[in-house]
Amino acid sequence: MIRLANLTKDFPSPDGHPLRVLEGIDLLLPASASLAIEGPSGSGKSTLLGILAGLERPTEGRVEVAGVDLGTLTERQLAAFRARTLGFVFQAFHLLQHFSALQNVVIAAEIAGLPDPLPRSREALARVGLEDRLDHLPGQLSGGECQRVAIARAIVARPPVLLCDEPTGSLDPANAGKVFELILDLHRDLGTSLVLVTHDPALASRMEHRLRLERGRMVAA
């Protein structure tokens, strides 16, 4: 479950006045539900995702993810929380270029403290259809394959929450479709909550809940 209450986020701006990027966001997302966050560029979508991931702290308001009030956690606790509770998929994949596909996943599994990281990583990669690409470096994989590795990395610890920041934005339509279906399948199979930031109304429409942001304010939910 994700609960946001009166969430506000300011950033310092060059002129000295704080720049408000999120204001008064309230949200309640049940466990295992899916949510699309939509809005034009600069509306605060990625900032909201960052706050959900514990990578940003809100200026005001309360954030509760999987029953944990993120405001009460120290940086160290936040890191542990991210490792075990959240899976993150980025638009630009962000794989470690010098590690193989398998090692990229293993590292995440070890950070999460999984007892048997190697078989779990193989399993996660098999689940995304990359069992025959384990030793390939990111540079040797296609864009779609890179994003699958990133998804395997995100789900290897079976996190209750999966955060995806425009995961199909860097892919061609065919690959984008496949990756999106994969994310939905995993969400259903693993019972994770899914938060998806997207510009694409078609993708957003496949989510159970939708939240639209404009200039940092929630205009529809």
């Binding site: 990578l55 940003e56 160290r76 490792a83 630009a92 962000h94 010098h98 950070i111 190697l118």
Partner: protein, 850 residues
């Protein structure tokens, strides 16, 4: 124009970063300019001051006496303005009282009335003309408290006790004054003892100028203005005839200042090391910088820029950075070169100190720049090949494609740098060895680090996560990492190798202070009739053991039937050493069997059976230098009598054993009737007893020369300490430059590191894990390269000690371990400092910026 605008814009926006990179590069170049500037200035100084150093335009030399007619022979030399006959020889000087005796070996110069021919020699009080009396080195005067005696005073025990006279040869000579400056003497810091100058008549009265003394005759000649030196030297050679050596002032001064020249070469070698370091540093920094621009180049291509625009723009930036940092390095280095003489203290004659701003070594600089340009060409041209689609395909780090000319460019740069090394060496062979040595060092460090970076993936699953991440960072840019490791390794190697070799040189000398196996007091020119009396003196002073060798002086006249002069003429291009060895006065000795410190490497040593044999045994290096082989017949002139012997064996001699050894040993039967002196070696542990023996011998046997090795060790040690100090300062600069290169490379390639750290943080990595990954990365980088270089330095010093110094050298590994630890810690500290900003950046900010 577009490229210039683009470069200018980038420079403006990242000026602080560029300034830092330029500063890092400048330190490396500064070390190079400092060493080269200094060495060049000293070389120019030697040439410029060569007349002053020699005290004449040309010199005619002859070993020993027998050249008294030289002035007459040279009298008809065209353009001769003046000449002076000078004898130089080591002799014992003593003073003080019998309760507090002062004794030491001095280098005496007995001069005729025409001396000095040129200004430069400063005496206090100024000597009249002609020079009369005894003048002593200022250092000796200060150490012994010597003061000038009243003019006209006669030498006496009273003056001796009052420290206003010295005992030399067979008498006591009042001190007339002090030598404040003697350019020729200070040019040679390895002289056996301090200089004393006395007039020739006094020297003859004291019995110092005799055939027995280890004496050399010099006829100094000045030429009338406008007389060409080369033709005068050629004519002097013709007039002087065989058996003498004629040199112009430049050649003679260069020989006179040989230790200084050698020191200079050593400094120049270090200078080349720093240049290599700077070049590699520049390569590493600018490669990191250019590789970090691939994304920008791809974006420019996306925007429709032609492929050569990023190449030109970033080429301009890289070139500007290089030239700017070189200029800055020149300013810094030249300032240091001006300060270096202070570090060297009195090692450097005041007249040779670099004057003014040293000119830049243009050829070396140009070659280094060309080599760097070649090395930077591949990463620069790769920018033109950046594929826009890669941006979409792989995110922030587009694939780097190999270039067909990458290896030839690297090879070309390596050849250019090798050319610099060879050009600087005294001869092609040493140059090739040095170049190969540098290449080997780099190849091993570079190759091993590449190997480790390739092989670590296999070990990955078994390593702790933090170490894996650290290695992953290093492995992300294996070429750059290996290059950085080579830079660090080179700095560590040069620091350690210098120290190790210095220790190798000094350690066996220091052990001469009586460790139960080696002699430390030598008596030269002992007449046969004095032996028994000396032995009684030794026993009376509690010395019961000594070794002895007979000595006969001779000249080589022919080798394998070919006269020495013909050989000299046939080999005009050969090394100076061979010609010098053939023409010098040879010390012949004999013994029935080999000493502990020598072994036969070819042929057979004669049996001890009392049978007469016409055989000779040569030291292998000497034989090689003079061009003699096993089976060759040597013809020698022993006091006017010809003597023939066939080379039947070659020996390897361990000279550092300080035992009595000789280049030429003849069968005892050959030298039975030759005029012989003796060489005695004693091992006296107690310095006070050693001084007492030296004083007694000097007092009773003034013609015997006593050499206390401990004294020489102290002098050599002092010189080596200074060399080591200079080497340490330079090594410190190199180390600093290597670390700055590391820092600058980290800054230049910060983007990739920041992204990886942000990503790891996003997937839940703790601060602790990230810090540990960085700790491992820098520890492996610094410690690994230092370990590789330290092992090589240790091995090189061991090989050098064994094969060049002929020592069973086992350099102390403690220093290597300390330096390894220090390098690892410094790298770690600097790496963490340079990564601090990457660590602090917010993950989302980094990830979203791409």
């Amino acid at each position: 124009m577009r490229a210039l605008r683009l470069a200018g814009r980038e420079l403006h926006h990242q000026r602080s970063r560029f300034l830092l990179i330029a500063l890092c590069l400048a330190v490396g170049f500064a070390a190079f300019f400092a060493t080269f500037g200094f060495a060049r200035a000293v070389q120019v100084g030697i040439q410029r001051e060569s007349r002053t150093l020699l005290g004449a335009d040309l010199v005619v030399r002859h070993r020993g006496l027998g050249a008294e007619d030289l002035p007459a022979r040279l009298a008809s030399l065209k353009g001769r303005a003046a000449q002076s006959l000078v004898y130089e020889f080591p002799t014992m000087a003593s003073g003080g009282t019998s309760e507090a005796p002062l004794t030491r070996l001095v280098e005496a110069r007995a001069v005729d009335g025409a001396y000095p021919l040129l200004p430069g020699l400063e005496l206090e009080p100024a000597a009249g003309s002609p020079l009369k009396g005894l003048f002593v080195d200022a250092g000796l005067a200060e150490a012994w408290g010597l003061k000038p005696a009243a003019p006209g005073a006669e030498g006496s025990e009273v003056l001796l006790a009052g420290r206003r006279a010295l005992r030399l040869g067979t008498g006591i000579v009042p001190v007339a004054g002090v030598i404040r400056q003697d350019p020729g003497a200070t040019a040679s810091p390895f002289a056996l003892g301090p200089r004393v100058i006395l007039d020739l008549d006094t020297a003859r009265e004291l019995g110092l100028v005799t055939a027995r003394a280890r004496l050399s005759t010099r006829l100094l000649i000045t030429l009338a203005p406008g007389t060409p030196l080369e033709s005068a030297v050629a004519e002097a050679r013709r007039l002087a005839g065989p058996g003498v050596r004629v040199q112009g002032h430049e050649e003679a001064a260069s020989n006179l200042a040989r230790p200084l020249r050698n020191l200079n070469r050593f400094i120049q070698l270090l200078g080349l090391g720093t240049l290599l370091l700077a070049a590699m540093g520049g390569w590493a920094i600018l490669t990191a910088f250019l590789e970090g621009r691939t994304r920008e180049a791809a974006i420019l291509r996306c925007l429709g820029a032609p492929p050569d625009l990023p190449v030109r723009a970033y080429g301009l930036l890289a070139g500007g950075l290089l030239l700017g940092s070189m200029l800055l390095g020149y300013l810094l280095g030249s300032t240091f070169a001006l300060l270096l003489p202070r570090l060297l203290g009195d090692l450097l004659p005041a007249s040779l100190g670099p004057v003014g701003w040293p000119p830049p070594p243009l050829l070396e600089t140009a070659v280094a720049l060309l080599a760097l340009a070649l090395l930077l060409l591949p990463p620069l041209l790769r920018l033109g090949r950046a594929r826009p689609l890669d941006l979409l395909r792989e995110g922030p780090e587009p694939r780097r494609s190999g270039l067909p000319f990458q290896s030839p460019a690297a090879l070309g740069a390596a050849l250019l740098l090798a050319f610099l090394v060879i050009r600087q060496a005294p001869n092609l062979r040493i140059g090739l060895y040095t170049a190969l040595g540098f290449a080997g060092l780099l190849a091993v460090v570079y190759g091993l680090s590449r190997l480790v970076l390739l092989g670590y993936r296999r070990l990955l699953p078994r390593l702790p996560l933090a170490l894996r991440l650290g290695l992953g960072q290093l492995g992300a840019r294996p070429g750059l990492t290996a290059l950085l490791m080579s830079v660090l390794g080179m700095a560590v190697f040069l620091t350690l190798a210098t120290q190790f070799v210095k220790e190798d040189l000094i350690a066996p000398l220091a052990r001469q202070r009586g460790d139960g196996t080696r002699a430390n007091l030598f008596l030269l020119d002992v007449p046969p009739e004095s032996r028994e009396e000396l032995f009684q003196q030794f026993r009376a002073l509690g010395q019961t053991s000594w070794t002895e060798a007979p000595l006969v002086r001779a000249r080589l006249t022919s080798i394998a039937g070919k006269p020495v002069a013909v050989r000299d003429a046939e080999q005009p291009g050969e090394e100076e050493r061979g010609r010098s060895f053939r023409n010098r006065e040879q010390n012949l000795s004999w013994r029935p069997r080999l000493a502990d410190s020598e072994r036969i490497v070819a042929g057979v040593y004669w049996p001890d059976d009392g049978q007469p044999r016409g055989e000779a045994s040569l030291e292998e290096g000497f034989a090689q230098s003079i061009g003699a082989r096993l089976g060759d017949e040597l013809e020698l002139d022993v006091a006017g009598e010809p003597l023939r012997a066939t080379v039947t064996s070659l020996r390897a001699v361990r000279w550092t054993s300080f035992q009595l050894n000789f280049f030429i040993l003849l069968h005892p039967s050959l030298l039975e009737d030759a005029p012989t002196t003796h060489l005695l070696a004693l091992e006296v542990e107690d310095p006070a007893r050693r001084a007492r023996i030296a004083a007694e011998v000097a007092a009773r046997h003034p013609m015997v020369t006593v050499v206390d090795v401990a004294d020489i060790v102290a002098r050599v040690g002092r010189v080596l300490d200074l060399v080591a100090l200079v080497a340490r300062v330079l090594a410190g600069l190199m180390m600093a430059s290597a670390l700055l290169v590391l820092g600058a490379s980290l800054l230049a390639g910060r983007l990739g590191r920041a992204r990886d750290l942000a990503l790891l943080r996003a997937v839940g990595a703790s601060d602790r894990l990230l810090h540990w990954s960085l700790v491992w990365e820098f520890l492996v980088l610094g410690g690994g390269s230092a370990a590789l270089a330290a092992a090589q330095a240790w091995l090189a010093a061991r090989l050098y000690g064994r094969h060049v110094l002929d020592l069973d050298a086992r350099p102390d590994p403690t220093l290597g371990l300390l330096l390894m630890g220090a390098t690892a810690l410094l790298t770690l500290g600097l790496g963490l400092l340079a990564s601090r900003r990457s660590l602090r950046r917010k993950p989302l900010e980094v990830l979203r910026s791409e």
